[in-house]
Amino acid sequence: MKIEDSKKIYDSIEIPPELDLVVKNAISKSSRKRAVYIRRKMLMRKFFRGLTVTAAGLVVCTTVALNTIPAFATEMAKLPVIGAIAKVLTVRAVHGVEENMYNVDMDVPNVVMESSSNVANTEFTEKINSEIEKTVNDYRAQAEKDFEEYKKAFFETGGTEEEWNNRKMDIIIDYDVKSQNGNILSFELVTSKGWVASNEERHYYNLNLDTDKEITLKDLLGDDYINICNESIKKQIEQRMAEDENNLYFGFGGDDTMQEAGFKTISDDTPFYINENGNPVIVFEKYEIAPGYMGYQEFEITK
């Protein structure tokens, strides 16, 4: 038996033409800037860990303080001031290793109303904030459950402690303010987990702080919003496919096999955020309307 000969089969694995593009996209997505940012976060994490050793409990103290004294929070979290009406700021920051199993990197945001001298919350922002807390807590619980299961399976199938090598799961909670224009506030909450690569969920909040309502696509585009979005998205898909043959969308370009999975219509639940032009940007998850290597797909709908 010559195992070396079967290498020919391995070597004959066909390299798809998309590989180049996939690699280049992945590299441009993970820019040096992002790597440096993550590096900085990790160093900060180490720094905090150092602090916990010398002044045990300090991290806990700051967390509690952030949660209980809003004025302290405003001072501590030097976050972008995005307007006079409200701020989105970190109310709970946890950076460090927990239970020797989780690399936790959480910046949990809350919406905080701001009047001239004080920080106060309305019923509406309280409701949004508790939704955020619930999303974060549920995500964290699910991540821990997944990792426990993975770890159990790892050892049951013959993995050793040495190979496990203290591997840890990353749990990352972060947010990004997309726009604020007067009373309109739009931001993204990102939850992600993984032990090598990450699996990511994005949640969007579009708030009208004057009427205390969440903004809908109908508010932005009028009664015909479904047709407006669908037509615009289909047009943009075709444009993108024409611009680059490597851009693929299920069910477009004569591909009947994936017809079922392809984009058909948006609904009231389709996620979107509002960009700085005040236009809605529809977001589709990875795999939702295109192969995974296309990543998240965003479509700006101009009014």
Partner: protein, 163 residues
């Protein structure tokens, strides 16, 4: 001037992207999944490139990420039976192709972690030391797995020959 870890990682990825794809493909045997694995692995690698302690070992470190990612992918979709969709058909004309295919299949059917060791050693030409780095084990464990894999393959293939 010393090259930055980010640049080193990028050039290593560009240089070996086809190897990474093949390795990923050999686990999932499906083009889309293999591309996903390569993409996710690159993102992970670049995000963590500043944690690399030994710039000499970037390639084995990248292999490690690909393998972890591939195993994670398999776990997530374990109900779907893998099928090779793009192995070139013209190769069937080559003499001994069937025999080679049989060995290749037998390798694919080995259980983890033995299969990884065999693939890295025989298909990716990694040394025992490099495999140890890739799989977080010591060289003796790698040797044990290599021998155990070889004897399993011998058993299986000779049994089939007599069947």
């Amino acid at each position: 001037m010393e090259k930055d870890l980010y640049d080193l990682t990028v050039s290593c990825i560009l240089e070996h992207q086809e190897k990474f794809y093949k390795l990923a493909y050999s686990y999932v045997r499906n083009k889309e999944s293999a591309l996903d694995i390569v993409q996710n692995s690159i993102c992970t690698a670049l995000e963590k490139c500043y944690t690399i302690k030994n710039p000499q070992a970037i390639k084995t470190w990248l292999y490690k990420i690909i393998i972890n990612e591939a195993l994670q992918h398999i776990k997530a979709s374990k109900n779907e039976a893998p099928t090779d969709e793009t192995l070139p058909e013209q190769s069937y004309n080559e003499p001994y192709f069937d025999k080679n295919m049989e060995v290749y299949e037998a390798v694919q059917n080995l259980s983890e972690p033995v299969r990884t060791v065999i693939i890295l050693h025989y298909y990716e030409d990694l040394t025992i030391k490099q495999i140890a780095e890739t799989t977080n084990t010591n060289p003796n464990t790698v040797k044990t797995r290599l021998y155990s894999g070889l004897s399993k393959l011998e058993n299986k293939l000779s049994k089939e020959a007599f069947a």
